[in-house]
């Protein structure tokens, strides 16, 4: 699948380049019309986010291809420049510099790790390049980005608030958190401690572990000593895999809940059912019924799309629609000024960039509803609201429980 992605990338670039060349040989109508629209993707192709980056990039390449095949944005082809941020701020900054200064992109899309996003953001707003991210850390939208940043991932406050609501609805009493050392470990715990008492539950403790360790026996011991009836696994797939094994070995029979990006289909497949059965998961609800989601699922070859690929699909769609709304000027400032005109409001609901571009060309107003959710943004760049889907692992598969 990785190899296919590399081929797709080169094909897309070649196709884009060929189309751009063809377009520039046509008689020009107004100077800038035929020049390609240059956009950058900066994803974790390696490093700890490496299992998500390739499909995030593929989702964006696919949208670009579709748009180009349908005639581009106001006659201009889309050209993507892709870099690997290695899930590390230092190479990410160098890669962003190259995208901004050498490739002169109007937007950088798809940064994943919070530290990467925080490092790259100043480069973007200083150079008036638009940044779209899937990072969830609360502090990101609090940066002085002057509007050059939006994120499609619900922030910790929103996510954990809904998680707390769900746990209360399950009537649990004692919740213990096992969290990986990340920016959202402490804010999550604080938010849970706020929400749970309203429903008669309480947090009975938490342990923050170094996610690069491969054994967590003592952390599990600590958790079990607090006699919880619900354990919240706030980490990533690799450490959650080990933790679930350890909890099973230690004879824990209570309930478990985790984020859907951690306890996903891959994890269920790698562990025996008796270890995973009964685990609840929380996922920002991709609009599973939307045509956009369905088409993307077919392209990426899986029914269980990860939220990041859905969000990246929406990133590039929003960017292209904003450029179209701004009469084809492909700059970060145009995107910043026009993105909310097409992402929310009273226009016709569309779920694909191609459809949206067609309607915009006819002078109609649109409201883009993405594969990852309604994609409506606040002034600071956060999403207004997002439904969280709660499921439970049964027999190696996820069964829907509730939508909050």
């Amino acid at each position: 699948m990785l190899t296919r992605s590399a081929h797709l990338s080169r094909r897309t670039l070649l196709a884009g380049a060929a189309a751009a060349a063809a377009a520039t040989s046509l008689p020009r109508v107004g100077g800038a019309q035929a020049a390609a629209i240059r956009l950058g993707t900066l994803n974790p192709l390696t490093g700890s986010g490496g299992s998500y980056g390739p499909s995030m990039r593929k989702a964006m390449e696919w949208v670009a291809q579709e748009v180009n095949a349908a005639g581009g944005v106001l006659g201009r082809q889309v050209q993507l420049f892709s870099e690997d941020d290695q899930t590390n701020p230092e190479p990410a900054v160098r890669a962003a510099r190259k995208l901004i200064d050498v490739d002169k992109v109007a937007a950088i899309m798809g940064t994943w790790a919070s530290a990467v996003t925080t490092a790259v953001a100043p480069l973007c707003w200083e150079s008036k390049t638009f940044l779209t991210t899937v990072s969830g850390s609360d502090t990101i939208t609090q940066l002085p980005h002057q509007g050059y940043l939006i994120r499609t991932q619900p922030n910790t406050h929103l996510q954990i608030g809904k998680l707390g609501e769900f746990l209360v609805s399950l009537k649990v009493k004692r919740v213990f958190t096992l969290a990986a050392q990340t920016p959202f470990a402490v804010p999550s715990q604080k938010r849970l401690a706020e929400i749970l008492p309203k429903g008669g539950a309480e947090t009975v403790g938490s342990v923050i572990y170094d996610k690069d360790k491969t054994t967590f026996r003592s952390e599990v011991d600590q958790a079990l000593r607090a006699k919880p009836d619900m354990i919240y696994l706030n980490g990533y797939t690799p450490d959650c895999t080990i933790l679930m094994k350890e909890l099973f070995k230690a004879g824990y029979t209570g309930a478990k809940v985790a984020q859907g990006y951690a306890v996903n289909a891959k994890l269920l497949g790698s562990l025996p059912n008796e270890v995973t059965d009964g685990t609840y998961t929380a996922t920002p609800s991709p609009s599973v019924e939307s045509a956009g989601y369905k088409r993307l699922a077919k392209v990426l070859g899986t029914d269980d799309l990860d939220p990041y690929s859905c969000q990246c699909h929406d990133h590039i769609s929003l960017v292209l629609l904003a450029i179209a709304h701004g009469k084809g000027e492909a700059t970060g400032t145009t995107i910043k000024d026009h993105v909310r005109n097409i992402s929310q409001g009273n226009g016709v609901k569309v779920d694909s960039a191609v459809e949206g571009l067609k309607l915009l060309a006819q002078g109609k107003a649109i409201n883009y509803e993405g594969a990852s959710g309604p994609c409506d943004f606040t002034e600071s760049g956060d999403i207004l609201d997002c439904k969280i889907k709660f499921e439970q692992a049964q027999g190696g598969k996820f069964k829907f429980v509730k939508l909050i």
Binding site: L2, T46, K98, D101, S114, T118, P144
Partner: protein, 299 residues
């Protein structure tokens, strides 16, 4: 494109400072510092916290980084100065790991994995980004020239001769009456100070630091820079640093052309090439591009 080149040149200057620091202890005094990224990070955090939390001016932050990192280096060397270089290697490896752990976990102090953002830079916000980058390149270059000048003086001085003697055979140096421990600790402290300054400059340039930035691989880049440029030769350190940045960025453009490989494999190839380059240089031209030219002793 120009802004990109200016930025890469700035990174190369910072790498050059790191290589100069390494040269002082390794090239000139024969002590190895495998944890130089830890001192780099230490200096960065000191200056970031001093300016961001303490409200100190940037120059004060950088000077504080210089002093405190030097002290940390002195302590490290005091503990291990009597022992074989291998112990120093092991200890310094551990040191950088501990710095990373403390930075990640002591959230009250360092903001943990969220990092520290909004670190002030000289005239940042009051000039255009391009101008800021140019100004900073000038600042970094000036610092490199200063450190280079100081270290060259050291090299040509009697002090430098003692260091070289210690590097070549510290038992002979001891017999000759030189207080070996004192020299080693001083050299290590000064070197750590230089590394700390590089870290502080980094923080003020990029305006954001997090524990994730300071990975052991960076140490390897600098070791490569020094080995390639010429161990023992200060100009070699600077040349080597520019070569490494050129190499790192160059592979980015090349790997876009290599067919049939997945992203992970491309990354593995890039990283593996760093290791291979170092081995090849160690094997074929261990003295590096600019070999150490011993200053002529007055006869």
């Amino acid at each position: 494109m120009d802004n990109y080149l200016v930025a890469m040149a700035t990174f190369a200057c910072l790498y050059a400072l790191l290589a100069l620091g390494l040269n002082l202890v390794w090239g000139m005094a024969g002590m190895i510092n495998l944890g130089l990224v830890g001192f780099f990070g230490f200096g960065a955090y000191v200056s970031a916290l001093a300016t961001r939390r303490g409200g100190a001016p940037i120059t004060a932050g950088v000077l504080l980084a210089l002093v405190l990192t030097a002290v940390a280096g002195a302590i490290m060397a005091l503990i291990t100065a009597r022992l074989r270089g291998d112990y120093l290697a092991i200890i310094t490896l551990g040191f950088s790991e501990v710095v990373r752990l403390v930075a990640s976990n002591e959230i009250w102090l360092t903001n943990g994995t969220d990092g520290i953002s909004g670190i002030p830079g000289p005239w940042r916000g009051r000039v255009t980004p391009e101008t800021f980058n140019l100004i900073f390149l000038a600042v970094a270059a000036v610092v490199v020239v200063l450190v280079l000048a100081v270290l060259q003086r050291v090299r040509h001085s009697p002090y430098g001769r003692v260091l070289r003697a210690i590097r070549d055979d510290d038992q002979v140096a001891a017999v000759a009456g030189k207080h070996v421990i004192r020299f080693k600790v001083e050299a290590f402290a000064v070197s750590a100070g230089v590394l700390g300054v590089a870290g502080a400059l980094w923080a003020h340039y990029t305006s954001f630091i997090a524990p994730d930035v300071f990975v052991p691989l960076l140490t390897i880049y600098i070791v490569l820079a020094l080995t390639a440029g010429g161990t023992g030769n200060n100009w070699g350190a600077v040349v080597g640093a520019f070569l490494v940045v050129f190499f790192l960025e160059g592979t980015r453009f090349i790997t876009a052309v290599v067919p049939g490989l997945g992203a992970v494999q491309v990354a593995a190839l890039r990283e593996g090439l760093i290791g291979v380059s170092l081995l090849v240089i160690l094997r074929l031209r261990p003295s590096g591009l600019l070999p150490e030219r011993l200053p002529r002793v007055a006869s």
